[in-house]
Amino acid sequence: MSGSESEAPYRDRSATDDATTDDARRAFEGGIRPRRFGAWYVAEHRFRVMWSYAQTILVTGFGEPFIYLYAMGVGLATLVDRNLSLEAGGVGYLVFVAPALLCSAALTTAVIEFSYPVLLGYKWNPTFTGMHSGPISPGQIVDGLVISVVVRLAATVAIYFGFMLLFGAVPSAAGWLAVPIATLTGMAFGTLLMAYASTIREDSGQLAMVQRLVVLPLTLFSGTFFPLSQLPWFLQWIGWISPLWHGTELTRVVTFGYAEPVWLTVLHVVVLIAMTVVGWAWARRIAVRRLAA
């Protein structure tokens, strides 16, 4: 998380780097804390902004899980449980669908937190430029954003999970693992979206397109409301590249012991972590290119 600055091709350094003066010593001292904790200061900024719309966050944080679990899990479940035999390991529809709702909620929250603030920070209200003219490095700005969203996601998911417990949607004792898994699911998609959003220089509704052409199909066809195997074969690939499918299946394993081969469970974890790392690293590269040109 330290701020490394890129080296440019050729340089006259004869007059420079006289690190022995009082000024230089003072600068090194001033650089210590920002170099070490810069990402946390950026996160602090994000929390302050979130605090300014805390009401909305709380209302959706508590309202959404109740409405969705009730509508899908209780209302729809009475219909589904009566008419369908699912390949869901003999659990009711509520137990089957709750992990998908949980992971979708994480994904939706990640989409919000990684799109609007990124466009804002680079362009509409260039606070990233402001941070960077202080001692914060471009990479730290990205890291700080990631930290703040992890916290926001974990909180959102934990509340959601609380409702799942209340609704009796978590039979397994290892169910609490759903919280880190769903958080990771949000990050897997979110960091990739952050990287993409960082490349947008002229806003012509790209993010709305992403919402319609990527997020919505993912939400519908990721083995969320029905198992992936029910999709025609030519649509099943969506699941395999979808962080939501990997996250949901993994959550199902921990909340009700969903039966799947061990290699597949391992694959879910690997894919989610890999996507997070790739998106994060990509976003850092773009930040350097965009802020330190």
């Binding site: 350094r13 022995t20 600068a27």
Partner: protein
């Protein structure tokens, strides 16, 4: 002599083949108020971004506080106060919060930041606006808040990129007064401007920049003495007669400059020159004698006006 806080040697910044900054060399001493005066597109902001350690130079030497910005960006930036050309205050936060958040980027303890925020709001004459939304502030107030924000880390050097561009005269004077205070406190100021009066008011020393190159360097008084006369006689004969009259005026004063709407006669004594011209039978519609300014220096150096 104390060590300079900024040393630039043949500083170059290229965007593709285009050199926005094309070999600038200058030094800034501690406590000095140094200016870059030049028209739009001269490369002032690009230079400021390199000094501010946020833009890497293409070639040349650059040292800020004895350090190379390529390697010590965060360290250098911890000692700078930056007022960018375009405000980037956080519009999602309130006025005082902007200072609190910004102070934290430097790793300052919350208590220290809170204390300084109140002092700086006072300094920026915004004490009663602490809880206001940023967007509710006037242009001049936003600018003052940006300056206050730049001071939150008690910077060694303050970089001001066109601090008063776009402000009305009254707001400019308030801002100049604030900047003058900083100068009195012994802060090192580096500022860019395309207003000659601003440069004259605030700069101990300045470089005149055009097309990424330095045209001249010195104190405002030195530059005027060297590149202009003491006084300027401005004559208007009506734009259709300008050319014709200009030929008749050939040889008046030290030098004449023909602009589309008026003729400038550079001379030590404007009134005397005007009498001579009237005596020769030339009667301008309007005439004006004024002291030479940096605008005249720029015109002399580049053949162009500072503000198009």
């Amino acid at each position: 002599m104390p060590q300079p806080v900024i040393v630039a040697r043949d500083l170059v910044k290229k965007y593709g083949e285009f050199a926005a900054v094309d070999g600038l060399s200058f030094e800034v001493a501690p406590g000095e108020s140094f200016g870059l005066l030049g028209p739009n597109g001269a490369g002032k902001s690009t230079t400021m971004r390199m000094i501010g350690a946020v833009s890497t130079r293409t070639a040349g030497g650059l040292s800020i506080l004895g350090l190379d910005p390529d390697r010590h960006g965060p360290d250098i930036r911890s000692q700078l106060g930056v007022v960018p050309q375009a405000d980037n205050l956080d519009t999602e936060l309130r006025v005082r919060e902007n200072l609190l958040v910004y102070g934290r980027y430097f790793g300052l303890p919350r208590r220290v930041v809170a204390e300084r925020a109140d002092e700086l709001l006072e300094f920026a004459q915004l004490s009663d606006r602490g809880q206001a939304k940023v967007d509710a502030l006037s242009g001049g107030m936003k600018r003052r808040l940006t300056i206050a924000r730049g001071l939150i880390n008690d910077p060694r050097i303050i970089l001001l990129d066109e601090p008063t561009t776009g402000l009305d005269p009254q707001a400019r004077h308030i801002l100049w007064d604030r900047l003058f205070r900083l100068k009195e406190q012994g802060k090192t100021l580096v500022l860019t401007t395309h207003y000659m009066d601003e440069a004259e008011q605030l700069c101990d020393r300045l470089v005149v920049v055009d097309h990424g190159r330095i045209m001249a360097e010195g104190s405002p008084a030195q530059l005027i003495r060297e590149y202009s006369s003491r006084e300027v006689l401005e004559l208007r004969f009506g734009s259709d007669r300008n050319e014709e009259v200009a030929r008749a005026l050939e040889g008046s004063g030290d030098r004449i400059e023909v602009l589309p709407d008026r003729i400038l006669v550079y001379t030590a004594d404007g009134e005397a020159e005007l009498e001579r011209i009237s005596a020769a039978g030339l009667h301008p519609i309007t005439s004006l004698v004024r002291r030479s300014s940096l605008e005249d220096v720029f015109l002399r150096l580049t053949g162009r006006s500072l503000i198009e």
